[in-house]
């Protein structure tokens, strides 16, 4: 009771006149102060890498003083290094990411449509085993994936080890396990009456799927594609095991080459590359913030 009594007049005062700094500090001020500290904590590695990328020379000593120099030399150098073709990696990453995300979202949309709209034997079992399949982390399969791709490469060098198409196929293998169940939920939210109406008007199943269902979940498909794009472009393990030619690298495997050699670490170029590589992903993330949060509470974990 006492608490409530204390609370009521304070709210009243707040509306009537300005609070003193002390009152501000007590109510929300300390939250702002701690918030600023947290922002600093969250931001400093990012600020550091941006600052480093703007230093003209490759001297890690100087770069510790943040934002003392501004030069785009590193960014220029990044595009003029024939042994480390950054532009190629960037393009590779985009191509692999786009192919995989579009392909796997399409595959899981097809499957989700079947699970949501059609009734068949093994439907429940199929859905359950897809959820189970999700629990097997692809990292554990690296040895087998390597073996499989090396076997395929013995017959078709264009599809086996060191092939980007092969890598895309491996990523697509995870499509059903990764996206179907989520999309199944979204498909279920579309009223069946719409399908029935279309059927009465003479539409076949393919027309319903492509022109009605897919159109209605288009925003969800887009978000799923972007999430899958972010996931694929951040993958290091599979890309590092399957690709070993510098011209085929993705950003995840390529950028490492700037700092992996202990005797010739090139932090300036690396940081410039990092900034450029991170921009699209961070932008996508901020843009998708709302969807990602709801997806998270739905049980998805960023891989």
């Amino acid at each position: 009771m006492t608490t409530q009594n204390a609370e009521t007049p304070r709210v009243y005062n707040f509306k009537r006149r300005r609070r003193t700094p002390f009152q501000w500090l007590l109510s929300t001020g300390w939250r702002h102060i701690l918030g600023l500290v947290l922002c600093l904590y969250a931001l400093f590695p990012i600020l550091y890498i941006i600052s480093t990328s703007l230093y003209p020379n490759n001297d890690i000593n100087n770069t510790n003083a943040l934002f003392q120099a501004f030069s785009i030399d590193n960014y220029k150098a990044l595009f003029n290094d024939p042994t480390r073709p950054f532009a190629t990696w960037y393009l590779n990453t985009i191509v692999i990411g786009v192919l995989t995300s579009v392909g796997s979202v399409f595959l899981s949309a097809l499957a989700a449509f079947a699970f949501s709209r059609l009734r068949f034997r093994g439907r429940r079992g199929g859905l359950l085993s897809l959820i189970l399949m999700q629990m097997f982390p692809s990292v554990l399969g690296i040895v087998a994936i390597y073996g499989l791709m090396s076997d395929i490469g013995q017959v078709f060098p264009q599809l086996g080890l060191n092939s980007q198409l092969g890598l895309v196929m491996v990523y697509m293998g995870g499509a059903l396990g990764g996206g179907t169940y989520l999309m199944y939920g979204f498909f279920n939210t579309i009223p069946r009456e719409i399908d029935e109406a279309a059927t009465i008007d003479g539409a076949g199943h393919a027309r319903i799927f492509f022109t009605i269902t897919l159109r209605l979940v288009a925003p969800v498909l887009a978000v799923q594609m972007l999430l899958s794009y972010i996931g694929v472009t951040s993958d290091y393990v599979l890309a590092s095991v399957l690709l070993n030619d510098p011209t085929k690298y993705t950003l995840a495997t390529g950028l490492q080459s700037f700092i992996s050699d202990p005797f010739s670490k090139d932090w300036s170029m690396f940081s410039a590359g990092t900034v450029l590589s991170a921009i699209p992903t961070v932008a996508l993330f901020l843009f998708l913030q709302r969807f990602i949060t709801s997806g998270l509470t739905g049980g998805a974990v960023k891989g």
């Binding site: 701690l34 097809l110 629990m135 264009q158 995870g174 949060t293």
Partner: protein, 565 residues
């Protein structure tokens, strides 16, 4: 109206029995036709390489696909088939293959089947002798597709065409083209390769990068006759860029599948005339005796539970393995706890109705999560640099460049602390987001009622909010645990699992290695030696069992948690 719709239902039923429109039929024909054309090409290539089993499997799969899409019934299969095809090839097959590999001795020296191993041994059993050497270009004869070597003498620049089992034949100067650039772009000496011929009239040049293993082996086994009187001498290429005069060191009996040494080994391991027989360990051994000398180049054989026995009984493995396992659990549990506590604290801090700029705070807090993890881990590795890193020199105020600075990453304890700190930074935004979401779903009446009943803020948090939070977040904590249990990125990219533990013999293991990075190293993917895929697979299976059963048990627990609600 009712009449009309009934009529339409009837029409629909009729329509359902055959494709509705012309467009649909055309699409079907085009897509199926394309699929079949691709399959036909694949099978053609496989048959060309004598891969008959694989060809038959492919044809059967193609027939099933055609059957699914051509028949009128079985609609679900039409929607499921494309995804299931990839699922079978790259998930289910991978699972089964992992399981199978765990029971084999698959490794870099037992790679492929016995036929492949025989081929490898054959191709490697030669000794270079004195004579003219050549620069080589791989070609195919246009008329009959015969593989041949285009040889340019390194002595006088004379160009020859060399075919298997025949003597080399001179190519007239006008009939060949010199290569425009070196095969090796970065070669310092461009003079030798600039003068080599790369194609000749009637032949097509072949790029090594485009060759399948089958074709490579065909080129490797190609033997140009040097002297018709000496059958065991010839010219061959071993590296696709040069060809040397050689003599054969082993003969192979196609019937018995035995190798016989023609020349004694330089280091005295075997004498001329010694016979090598295949052993059940996937190697050719002297007289078939498993303990005797073996030829390099083996094949995959099943070894039963040997890999699992190694895991549980190998004395060299025991100490590092126990260390790795305990650290894996410590790492995963402390990561989940630390990120959850910090994430929840941040969520509670910003979950205040009168707080301004909540959106801005939220966008900043999400940044570590939005920044690609592999990049931030590299950045942190730089920040933790011992001599000049930002953390040592600026935050801890130590001397720049000094080797006496705090040994983040170079000593085990600090390296483990660094891993946890980095993962805290990477992981707390995720927890912040989900806790914020969960907090907002807790009805305000509950806390208000508690306040009226005289509960302190701490009491209402501990007794009301926290239990409710845990109910909705526990499954996510468990999946976070499972994710971190196999969190390869942070461990391997921060410090490659290091610092390396020099006290361990026979295995490459570091102070921050978790199981999955240890497996990666056993498989030799880090560029190390060994490449024991069999043992690595056995580990993968065990990890899967651990993670899988933990998840199952915990999900059961969660259900009881929900019952409380």
């Amino acid at each position: 109206m009712v009449e009309e719709s009934k009529q339409k239902t009837k029409q629909k039923k009729v329509r359902d029995e055959r494709p509705t429109t012309l467009a649909a039929i055309l699409w079907k024909i085009v897509l199926l036709g394309l699929t079949d054309a691709v399959v036909f090409l694949l099978v053609l290539v496989m048959v060309g390489q004598e891969r008959f089993t694989e060809s038959i499997v492919t044809v059967i799969v193609a027939i099933i696909i055609n059957w699914i899409y051509l028949r009128k019934r079985g609609l679900p299969a039409k929607y499921l088939a494309p995804g299931v095809l990839f699922l079978i090839a790259f998930q289910i097959y991978i699972l089964l293959f992992s399981g199978y590999t765990a029971f084999t001795n698959y490794s870099s020296s037992h790679n492929g089947d016995q036929a492949l191993a025989i081929n490898t041994i054959k191709n490697a059993s030669f000794r270079v002798i004195d004579g003219e050497d050549f620069t080589v270009s791989l070609v195919k004869q246009n008329s009959n597709g015969e593989r041949a070597l285009l040889l340019t003498s390194n002595a006088d620049g004379q160009v020859y065409i060399g075919k298997d089992g025949k003597e080399k034949a001179v190519v007239a100067p006008g009939d060949y083209t010199l290569s425009k650039d070196c095969a090796d772009k970065y070669a310092e000496d461009k003079t030798t390769c600039a003068h080599a011929a790369y194609t000749a009239k009637g032949f097509t040049p072949v790029k090594v990068a485009d060759l399948s293993l089958f074709d490579k082996n065909k080129y490797l086994s190609l033997r140009v006759v040097l002297d018709p009187a000496k059958s065991n001498e010839g010219i061959k290429t071993a590296d696709f860029s040069s060809a040397l005069p050689i003599e054969t060191t082993f003969s192979f009996n196609e019937k018995t599948k035995w190798f016989t040494a023609l020349i004694a080994d330089d280091s005295g391991n075997y004498a001329a005339g010694d016979v090598f027989k295949p052993g059940n360990d996937g190697f050719y051994h002297l007289n078939g005796n498993l303990k005797a000398y073996n030829l390099s180049g083996g094949w995959r054989v099943e070894v039963g539970f040997k890999n699992f026995v190694t895991i549980f009984t190998d004395q060299d493995l025991r100490k590092p393995l126990l260390k790795v396992i305990s650290w894996t659990f410590i790492f995963a549990i402390s990561t989940v706890l630390s990120t959850f506590v910090l994430g929840m604290a941040v969520a509670l801090l910003f979950n205040h109705e009168r707080l301004r700029g909540k959106k801005l705070y939220r966008s900043v807090m999400i940044l570590p999560y939005a920044f690609p993890a592999f990049l931030s881990v590299y950045v942190w590795a730089g920040l933790f640099n011992r001599e000049n890193g930002f953390i040592n020199t600026v935050i801890l105020g130590q001397t720049p460049g000094s080797e006496a600075n705090f040994p983040w990453l170079t000593e085990e304890g600090p390296a483990r602390l660094a891993v946890l700190l980095v993962n805290l930074w990477l992981g707390f935004p995720y927890m912040f987001l989900i806790v914020t979401g969960a907090l907002q779903s807790i009805p305000a009446e509950l806390t208000e009622a508690a306040t009226i009943d005289g509960a302190s803020p701490w009491q209402s948090f501990r007794l009301i909010k926290l239990p409710l939070l845990l109910v909705s977040i526990a499954p996510l904590l468990i999946s976070s645990f499972a994710f971190n249990f196999n969190n390869f990125t942070i461990i391997y990219l921060l410090n490659k699992g290091g610092p390396a533990d020099s006290s361990v013999v026979g295995y490459d293991v570091g102070g921050t290695d978790i199981l999955i990075t240890f497996v990666y190293k056993i498989a030799g993917f880090n560029g190390g030696t060994g490449q024991n895929y069999g043992l690595a697979s056995a580990f993968s299976i065990l990890i899967f069992l651990v993670v899988g059963s933990l998840s199952l048990v915990s999900f059961r627990r969660t259900r009881t948690l929900e019952d409380i609600n």
